[in-house]
Amino acid sequence: MSMLAPLERFRLLQRRRLAAAGASKSILLDRFRLLRRRRLISLVPIVAIVIILPLLFSSAYYYRVAALVFLFGIAALGLNLLMGFAGQVSLGHAGFMGIGAYAVAIGPTAFGIPPVLSFILGALLSALVAFVVGRPILRLKEHYLAVATLGFGILLAIVFTNEANWTGGPDGMAVPQLILFNWPLRGAAVWYWILAVSFLVGAVIALNLINSPTGRALRAIHDSEVAARVLGIDVAQKKLMIFVISAVYTSIAGSYLALLDGYITPQISGFLRSIELVAMVVLGGMGSVAGSLVGAAVLVILPQALTLFDEYEHVVLGLIVMGVMIFLRAGIVPSLAAAFGGGRS
């Protein structure tokens, strides 16, 4: 419920703004242009897909795969804000997935905190951790930043593996169900809708950010830190801010994953998971909101499709990853958008 609040508020605001603007045609047109400028229009096809897809689904399996696509879309979107917009690499983001996941697992079982509250606390804890480690880590650049974030992620994975009294150790632990108003959230279809809507909310917030003063400052930092600084942008503070926001996105995705699976193991925060998140961002397209979803879709759906190839699965997966990056080097969405529409995405 708490996750839905921002969306509700957003709609309310939109409605209020529309009402205030009156309904004259020219103003509506103006509004449309504004919407376009805010790029919210890029979400329209995604909304359409969210609504149409279930008509094609013949079983809960499809719902689950689609739900996972949106789930990893949220995580990739968070990482994309950091990598694609602010230009800062993180090879340890799965660590935040782990924090979110173990928050909803440990909170209710060890402390009796209701799952919904644990969910929120997990996001806050991730934000806090990101805030504390972010300031020193983000002073580093490029490969050094990469290894520092990598180390951070591995540290968290080690903690989740070793503190077996809390986490169940490498075998993992069960996660209590999320119950909203006496209605247990179970079944892949329910999660499909929750995750699709959550992704859309996350996408709206991301698009809001991108076109705000903060967002412009972040994109500026990506291209030239020096120029950003002489224009009065506190680069360290902005980087830290986006690191925290990005961590919250990823943490929320982690919480969802734990609740969806009902069971988690420390793999959730492992090095391979971090790399997978980075690959989603880069495959889909750095700096593209739709790209985050497409990148997630590719890496979630491929392993399902590639079972066809049996033992050659990984050979084909490697070839596809290389091929996409060689031929669509800006990422799938930006490259295809440039090829088809000539427009920016």
């Binding site: 605001l13 703004r17 809001n208 003063p213 291209d223 030239s224 942008i233 680069v235």
Partner: protein
Amino acid sequence: MSALSAERLSVAFGGVRAVDGVSFDVAAGIVFSIIGPNGAGKTTLFNLISGLCRSHDGGVWLCGEDVTALAPEDLARRGLSRTFQNLQIFSHLTVIENVMVGRHRHEATGILADLLHLPAVARQNRGTRKAAAEALGRVGLGDAAERSASGLAYGHLKRLEIARALASEPKVLLLDEPAAGCNPVETREIEAIIRGIVADGVTVVLVEHDMRLVMNVSDRIHVLANGRTLAEGTAVEIRTNAAVIEAYLGVRGAREAAGAVG
């Protein structure tokens, strides 16, 4: 009160004294040019003033305030802005967004408001966009506003940097070779832009190799050679300064300069 003073600025890189005890004083509302042969330390001097590197000695004062140890972003908030010799364009942004970033120090919404796109953000975005469009108009790039910055020609990028710096409404503006790579027509346009900026009461500090431009717009000229001050004076004084002609302009330049005076 002077808009900008530098005192005994010095910095060395790997034993080479790039800037060595340079002092000067820029009166408010003038064009103050810094010239010198390649490697004289002009850009390094800009970096020292704008806080990108730190002087071993002396200090910098902006409108009477000691700003010696301040970071670039703090200097920007106090009204110092600059452009770059090697372009520092935000190439993933559109032209107008580049300039909108220049408005950053005048934008006041918090991160939560930004995330939720509260009405205040929309209002402010409109204001920022308007101011940015104005700044673009002043450098003659009004038509290019919605284009991608990476698609602009070199000369236009130079102007884009000026517009971006202007949008921050600086008191003192450092221009690092704004006319580099420009043809004579474009150079005259840059000259007009600089005159317009000064007319608005902004103090301009200019590093430039195009002598005609320097001589035309400068109220005072400061000459560097090998990191040290060689001379300072008005255009006429510099043109006739024997040491400057010797060290910097060379024989051919001296004849040209003499011709220009005559």
